[in-house]
């Protein structure tokens, strides 16, 4: 059976999902925390573009508002906050991770393949919605887990969480753009609050321990 050519929307969604995944990999191997944050800003920009594409092709005008809010928050405000935090820190190199860059990348490739094909194995075919982009966004989520687990500094872990949210955003934009706007705005608002909380706790951590590394956080066990 011949597959029909993908629609413009599906193509665009897939390309953007791939870009998000690639920037996730770049974040994983970025040695400077600063560049990690900039990569996050780029990734958020790509997600914003996806929101505009969905708004234009599906004629959901509210999504333009969402795109604007998402641009302001995730491309401008959040990276600003984190970069300002970094400028106060002594060291802006990423905390030493347990593995080298090559190993981390290989692990990330393995988990993203797993994520991609496990969604594919579910046979979620749909004429209206791009399943490939959904599978890639699951891969993004898994790679962000690798980032959070293998990097041992609070900035990488926070940025890992923010980029996980980007991955879920891609999934929600391609699959659930029909959700009422109020819900989308609630999601974004929640993210903003979460970012503020992460920021507060990062600053508290830095204030108490004078470092961004998570190594001092090993007192509570058992």
């Amino acid at each position: 059976m011949a597959h029909p050519a993908p629609s413009t929307f599906t193509g665009a969604a897939d390309v953007i999902a791939v870009l998000v995944l690639l920037s996730e990999f770049a974040m994983l191997r970025a040695p400077l925390l600063r560049s990690q944050v900039r990569l996050y800003a780029f990734q958020s920009l790509v997600v914003t573009v996806l929101a505009i594409v969905v708004a234009a092709t599906r004629h959901i005008d509210e999504l333009y508002v969402l795109a604007a809010v998402s641009f302001v928050l995730k491309v401008v405000v959040v990276p600003r906050i984190v970069l300002r935090l970094l400028s106060r820190a002594e060291v802006s190199l990423a905390g030493s991770s347990a593995y080298g860059v090559a190993t981390m990348t290989l692990i990330a490739i393995a988990v993203s393949i797993f994520g991609f094909f496990s969604i594919g194995a579910l046979h979620l075919h749909s004429t209206a919605l791009p399943s490939t982009a959904l599978a890639i966004s699951v891969a993004v989520v898994l790679v962000s887990f690798v980032l959070i687990i293998l990097r041992s500094d609070v900035v990488s872990q926070a940025v890992g969480f923010f980029s996980l949210e980007n991955g879920v955003s891609v999934a929600s934009l391609v699959v659930a753009s029909g959700l009422p706007l109020i819900v989308d705005v609630a999601f974004l608002f929640d993210l903003l609050v979460a970012v503020v909380v992460f920021g507060v706790l990062m600053r508290v951590h830095q204030g108490r321990t004078n470092t961004l590394s998570t190594d001092p956080l090993d007192q509570l066990k058992g």
Partner: protein, 490 residues
């Protein structure tokens, strides 16, 4: 009837805003008043929900029997924690104390608001939003003491819980994807629509959503192996917050899992969703029982007891007998009351002895005749002793499980609960009933630190006795309604 539903959503948030501005003694009184009001409103929802089936206010708020089952214990803990906090907080004079009190009371009220609202919203998407609000507020409350331990616990909590909720959001999206086959590409995830259409959802997508939801929300509920934030946060948070985390927050996350469970039951039939919960429940109960045997920190001990009870809830849901489901729902309420009371007692002990180390606490009952005694009673209640509510709920779960084809699970449940009983009650009882060394009596003195603490604990134990001796008729009807809602398969 909509008025009550709106009032219960408005009161705590209004008090949150007020307490940001009012002085400490007024914040204290307002929070207690709000706790009383919320609890009374929750109780008036009980008969209304059983007689009408469900209540609604606008498109966003909807309460059926299952929702009310979770609102009642949260409101009860809101009330008792507000009273406890009035006695527990010892603030320094001046601006530092004022600032702490302002953050604490605004945070406490907002946290309780989010936990009351979560079961009342209509739909999986709004539910996720409400639960995320509980995370960010409670993470700040865990960090509020600004010690090394609190900072570490808060970081672990916010990171792990947020990742869990990221997975839960993915679960919500996959469920939405499943629904597009029936409802088209634009609909909202409201419960009546989901439940009505679930039998036509593609099963693979629902399976994925169910597992992701159990892992994601299970992270906040404290299911093993994604429970790792829980003991740290529970032990390092201020004790009123520990009580709310353990008694109400975990239950709220369980509620979210039950909503996915409900849809999965209709889409897939009973086997799959029950087995998922069984696996996580057994792991939680086993690990918690073993940790309880070796724990020497009073608040961590109670935290692992929460993991144990969440395991019991998950296992109970895997039994096919409706009796077990009624038991699970009763267990949610009874555990809230018991764990709240136990943490209040722990707070009293920590205030008195200035340590959480069970090896250094001696003569608890001698020095704290009221709260020490009630702590022992609360721990016995947590261990499933009559005449308290947990005895009844665990009895229902086990007897439901024994009528199940897989009755071996019920036997394992009993063995592990007994193991946990030893760990939990042995050390706490020992520290409480041993005579106090004269040196401690001389330095610390006899007597309660605050009568507010005693009142909060009396209320908690009274609730437990009511649940254990005779479940009020309306509540019993409510539990059966909710159990029936959960049991519908395709």
């Amino acid at each position: 009837m909509n008025a009550v539903l709106i009032a219960i959503v408005v009161v705590p948030i209004a008090v949150t805003i007020l307490t940001w501005w009012t002085p400490l003694h007024l914040s204290r009184a307002l929070t207690i008043a709000s706790g009383i009001a919320t609890f009374v409103l929750a109780l008036t929802l009980v008969p209304a929900a059983t007689s009408h089936g469900f209540l609604a206010a606008g498109p966003a708020l909807r309460a059926d029997a299952l929702s009310i089952v979770f609102v009642v214990p949260t409101a009860f803990l809101y009330l008792t924690t507000a009273i406890f906090a009035a006695g527990y907080l010892h603030l320094p004079e001046g601006t530092a104390g004022r600032r702490y009190a302002r953050r604490f009371y605004a945070g406490l009220n907002l946290f309780c608001w989010a936990m009351v609202v979560a079961p009342l919203v209509n739909g999986l998407a709004l539910l996720w939003v409400a639960i995320e609000v509980t995370t960010v507020v409670s993470a700040l409350l865990v960090a509020i003491d600004d010690t090394d331990g609190a900072t570490e616990a808060a970081w672990k909590y916010v990171l792990i819980a947020s990742l869990g909720l990221g997975i839960a959001l993915l679960a919500t999206i996959v469920m939405y994807y499943a629904g597009t086959k029936v409802f088209g590409s634009s609909y909202n995830l409201s419960y009546p629509a989901l439940l009505a259409g679930a039998h036509r959802f593609p099963p693979d997508a629902v399976r994925l959503a169910d597992i992701l939801a159990v892992i994601g929300f299970g992270t906040k509920m404290g299911l093993v192996p994604v429970h790792t934030w829980l003991p740290d946060a529970h032990s390092e948070a201020p004790t009123p917050i520990s009580a709310l985390l353990s008694g109400a927050l975990l239950a709220t996350s369980f509620y979210a899992i039950l909503r996915f469970f409900q849809v999965s039951m209709r889409a897939l039939g009973p086997t799959f969703p029950r087995n998922v919960l069984l696996a996580f429940g057994l792991a939680s109960l086993l690990l918690a029982a073993l940790y309880l045997l070796s724990q020497r920190d009073l608040k961590r001990l109670l935290a692992y007891s929460s993991v144990e009870h969440m395991g019991i809830l998950a296992i109970g849901m895997s039994f096919s007998a409706p009796l077990a489901i009624v038991g699970v729902l009763l267990h949610v309420i009874a555990h809230g009351a018991a764990k709240g009371t136990a943490f209040f007692g722990a707070g009293s002990v920590v205030r008195k002895f200035l340590t959480k180390d069970l090896l250094r606490i001696r003569g608890g009952i001698a020095l704290l005749p009221w709260s020490g005694t009630m702590l022992v009673l609360a721990v016995l209640a947590l261990s499933g002793m009559p005449p308290f509510g947990i005895f009844r709920s665990e009895f229902l779960i086990v007897s439901g499980g024994l009528s199940d084809p897989h009755d071996a699970v019920a036997a394992i449940l009993v063995v592990l609960v007994t193991l946990a009983f030893f760990g939990l009650s042995w050390f706490t009882t020992e520290t409480m009933v041993t005579p106090a060394p004269p040196r401690l009596v001389a330095t610390l003195g006899r007597g309660e630190t605050s009568w507010f603490i005693v009142v909060a604990m009396v209320l908690g134990l009274a609730g437990l006795v009511v649940l254990g001796v005779h479940v009020p008729g309306q509540l019993s009807v409510l539990l059966h309604h909710a159990a029936t809602e959960l049991e519908v398969t395709r």
